[in-house]
Subunit: 421 residues, 2 copies
């Protein structure tokens, strides 16, 4: 009697989740491992950080997703070692260390922020990589305002109400726009006994925003961001940061108590556990069939992988890429089990979009249709609603957005301290 | 020219909030001080702990409440000293220590759990005194289940899926009922690959539950709790606790990784700062005009105070008492400023109620109307909805309850780790 093949999937982000879905109710045994007990809808992390949504609105328990699936089990823990020779991974769980054997392994742990060698910056930077990061940033922003309203020192007040967002990609733009609106539509009303003029500065080392978009959309994004009131600084990277402010390479000093790092990401540290040479951005080189180069039964998908398209350009670190690669890795494992040929990755690119704030956005669909302003913003809202997991989360986010839109309110303005452990 | 009298209110719970509301737009200057930037609707903390509601649904930013009021300012910080001779309080704020002068002081910092001298129990107990407590307990409960599903040891599994709730008052009953439903309606479906039989034990040292209710309602509550499936242990207090379980004084040992302490509260530690002899339960003795005994310009209201009614019974530690006392303290200060006589406290008692779970509750209205079962449960739902602050919170809680009721779901099942600081 043949034993059922055992597939371990590490990471319940978009890549891992779509791989697991593809393997649901197939004649394999699946173990899905993640540090958290939930899947995070990362595109909306910035809305949690800026008081627009509750953490649970963009988090969905992994167990709930696979509640009715008999061949998928879920384990909460962090993978600390992979032993390809023994076909075994080591996992640190809340109740101790476990070893789990695999026949096939799918790595899907995504990306982590990179400081491009200037790691000292990280000590003074807030990130938006996890739900915990978003809650921490929310606490920090609100706490700065609570302090600013009582300070007697004008310089200190200015630093407490200035936020510097580094990175001119979609996350940077979305975060800068949302913080500006939080400051100047919502918080301004509540600190009216002392007028606090909040300032949001977006810093990008390139001379333009949104490098992945065509030039006219880049300019539209910059115009919309400026029309909102964000101070856009192009063409100079951050040189140094401290608790008091940010120095740009061009000599500018911006006194600010809040620095949000959205300048770039690299492959997840898990990529290093395999001991293979990594590609650009510390990403794992994979074959078009999504196998990690050098291994026959280890697959990797999503942000942590490096794969070039027919023109020699690496596939971008985007959610649709991760989803499609996750599905393909799962299908290729099933193909091998059935004696069929694996298929190479082909990206079905439906486009990219970024929102900048209330009624402001840009979109570049199917590599030919540009959208901007209100139309792009509506498209963004709709897409994010339909791709959010779970009917209840969709309904809840929809109602929150309607509420925030019409009332100019942000509902989740609570400073929730660290729970005692 | 007379200066405007300055009133400091410490605590933005029900007592402090209603005092501040009474002073809104009056010819006084008010400073409202709280550790958090939000008011907590404490009666629903247990629903946050049991995954039914999001923290922000029962928290309302203090600044939002007084957004349009010109004479009330808000300061986030913890009072560490009161100097009656100097009419000054010391506050630890996120940006350092402040001193604030007062003409009148209203203390309203509520209560804190008491272990009746057995303080060693606290090291192994979870409390439900703050929003942070509730989130910590939610994380713990979910984490125990994540571990139990992977354990190989039957005793360990039993301890991980057993929860002991100590205290037969409303909080104990509500928490026990809600946890039982979470375990056996919601989580059971998600851990179906291994059948986990969760056990909820309610421990009360008195031979009956709900001491404040007439005997037939006490029995109705016990019947409803047992019909739900909760294991009710009356007549024996907790003797000892460890990380592995709970020992009752009658010799029973209950292996359990989770002990929730809802056995009783005492006056807030702030009461000790005045250096006056405290009454029973470490509560501040106050006059019927709500002045702290021994001081002419220091008032105290709510759970932290001790005041007897005409029959010599102390007023109970209940939200309506705190609200009515807060209003009276504020009115009495205004009366003094206008040369009028202060009024004594008279409690308008509309009754008490406790819910036990889905369609289960008891209520004792106007000291004569008993309600039980479905009618009491509907009354409980309605009362809590209308007393919740903020239209958005009311709508959101209402929708969450409708959702949870019809789907037998609990939406907020995420283990949100401590945010990095």
């Amino acid at each position: 009697m043949k034993t059922t093949p055992r597939i371990l999937i590490i990471g319940a982000g978009f890549g891992g989740l779509f791989a697991a879905r593809t393997l649901a109710n197939k004649p394999v045994e699946v173990l899905l491992i993640d540090r958290s007990n939930f899947h995070t809808f990362t595109p909306l992390l910035y809305q949690v950080a800026t008081c627009g949504l509750d953490p649970s609105e963009i988090a969905y328990p992994v167990r709930t997703i696979f509640r009715k699936v008999r061949n998928i089990r879920v384990l909460m823990g962090e993978v600390t070692a992979v032993a390809p020779a023994q076909q075994c991974v080591t996992i640190q769980t809340p109740s101790g260390v476990r070893q789990e054997r695999y026949d096939y392994l799918i790595l899907a742990t995504g990306s982590t922020p990179t400081y491009f060698g200037r790691d000292a910056l990280s000590a003074h930077a807030w990130e938006l990589n996890s739900l915990e990061d978003a809650v921490a940033l929310r606490n920090h922003i609100l706490s700065q305002f609570e302090q600013a309203v009582w300070s007697e020192n004008a310089d200190e007040i200015a630093a407490m109400t200035t936020i510097v967002v580094v990175g001119g990609g979609p996350t940077g733009l979305e975060t800068a726009g949302a913080i500006y609106e939080l400051y100047n539509h919502v918080l301004a009303r509540e600190y009216s006994q002392r007028s606090l003029h909040a300032r949001v500065v977006l810093v990008e080392m390139q001379p333009y925003l949104l490098g992945a978009y065509p030039p006219d959309l880049r300019q539209a994004a910059a115009r919309q961001l400026k029309s909102l009131g964000v101070d856009v600084r192009l063409g100079s990277p951050v040189a140094e940061a401290s608790a008091q402010g940010v120095h740009l390479a061009d000599g500018t000093h911006i006194p600010a108590r809040t620095l949000v790092w959205a300048a770039g990401v690299r492959g997840s540290p898990l990529a290093e556990l395999l001991g293979v040479p990594l590609a650009r951005g510390q990403r794992l080189p994979v074959s078009p069939a999504m196998r990690v180069v050098g291994f026959s039964n280890i697959y990797a998908v999503g942000d942590m992988t490096y794969l070039e398209d027919e023109k020699g350009n690496p596939y971008p670190m985007l959610i649709p890429v991760a989803q499609q690669q996750g599905i393909l890795a799962a299908k290729n494992i099933l193909a091998e089990l059935n004696g069929r040929e694996p298929q190479p990755f082909r990206y079905h690119d439906r486009g990219i979009m970024a929102t900048i704030g209330r009624s402001r956005a840009v979109a570049w669909l199917y590599n030919r249709v540009p959208l901007r302003g209100y139309a792009a913003w509506l498209a963004w809202l709709l897409l994010h609603l339909v791709t959010l997991l779970g009917f209840r989360n969709r309904l809840s986010v929809f109602l929150s957005w309607v509420w925030n839109y019409f009332t100019y309110d942000r509902s989740v303005r609570i400073i929730l301290r660290q729970p005692p452990s």
